[in-house]
Amino acid sequence: MRLSAADRRRPTLGDGLVVLVVAAAALLLLAALRPKGTDSLTATITLDGQVVAQYQLAELSQPVSLTLEQAPYPLTIQIEADGVSILHSACPSQDCVRTGRITQTGQQIICLPNRLVVSLTGAGDLEFDAVTG
């Protein structure tokens, strides 16, 4: 079987088209998911599809640190008036800790090994018009 692509050594115009399509898809998706700015933020902590805690950030007078012992890899979440971060986690990848602090509506911290999502939403600002499944 001969495939023309296998014999080329240099990028072609078609490659540029692929690059454009992928970049356009990324930018379109980025625009579609762009958060709308709001003042009052709600932090929702979801573990394995279940909402375990919800905080109105504006109502916090001092930082709250929440430890989830029931998670597969126990972790500690720091909730402050101006953002949420994961202080430490026993999970192997540590992506959630490295994500750092989220401060804006639409931002998320995801810990896949724990199936945990921490998301910030603005008041009355539903991120998606429908969630199925």
């Binding site: 079987m1 495939l3 023309s4 692509a5 296998a6 080329r8 050594r9 240099r10 990028p11 072609t12 115009l13 078609g14 490659d15 540029g16 088209l17 692929v18 690059v19 992928v22 970049a23 898809a25 990324a26 930018l27 998706l29 980025l30 998911l33 979801t46 599809g49 192997p92 990848s93 992506d95 490295r98 994500t99 750092g100 639409g106 931002q107 998320q108 995801i110 896949l112 090994p113 199936r115 999502v117 998301s119 991120e127 998606f128 969630v131 499944g133």
Partner: protein, 169 residues
């Protein structure tokens, strides 16, 4: 008979190579530089590209599935299997299609494969987490796949040029 044995050995060697590449990649993860879940160079994809170009689609599929199954045993993470398999199968399908499109080089094929892999991973994550939350990571992952796909594309061109089809000198 001897031909079948040759095919089997060739597929086994390539599976081992893909497995070794993905383990090696895991030792120096890109996520240290850039904390984006799911980000990786995709070195094991080199083997898929090579198998698609020089062997057959069927062998590429077998190598991919064997690599994902064995890789999840090595990594000890069954959930990683869902991600690597969905991503890998989608990337394989897209690359097999694009290889038949005239006017593309392996750069374009690899970039599309990397983008497809990321899309598959995010789709799997959306199913696992039961929501659309992971979608937020897709745009940056797609932009990164332009770079990682171009790098693996360049390497796969060398690979496919330098290593001729086995058994056909």
């Amino acid at each position: 008979m001897a031909h079948g044995l040759q095919r089997l050995t060739r597929a086994a060697v390539l599976t081992a190579l893909a497995l070794a590449l993905s383990v090696a990649e895991g030792l120096a993860p890109l996520t240290i530089l850039f904390p984006l879940p799911g980000l990786r160079l995709g070195l094991a994809n080199l083997v898929t590209v090579y198998a698609l170009c020089r062997l057959s689609g069927r062998e590429a599929l077998l190598i991919l599935v064997a690599r994902c199954l064995l890789g999840s045993l090595l990594g000890g993470n069954l959930m990683a299997l869902a991600f690597s398999l969905t991503g890998g199968l989608l990337a394989l399908a897209v690359m097999a299609l694009l290889l038949r499109v005239p006017g593309l080089s392996l750069f374009g094929v690899s970039i599309a494969g990397a983008a497809a892999h990321n899309t598959g991973q995010i789709l799997a994550a959306m199913v696992v987490l039961g929501g659309r939350a992971p979608l937020v990571y897709l745009p940056p992952l797609l932009l990164c796949s332009l770079v990682t796909g171009a790098v693996t594309g360049g390497v796969s061109i060398l690979l496919v040029q330098r290593i001729p089809a086995p058994g056909r000198p």
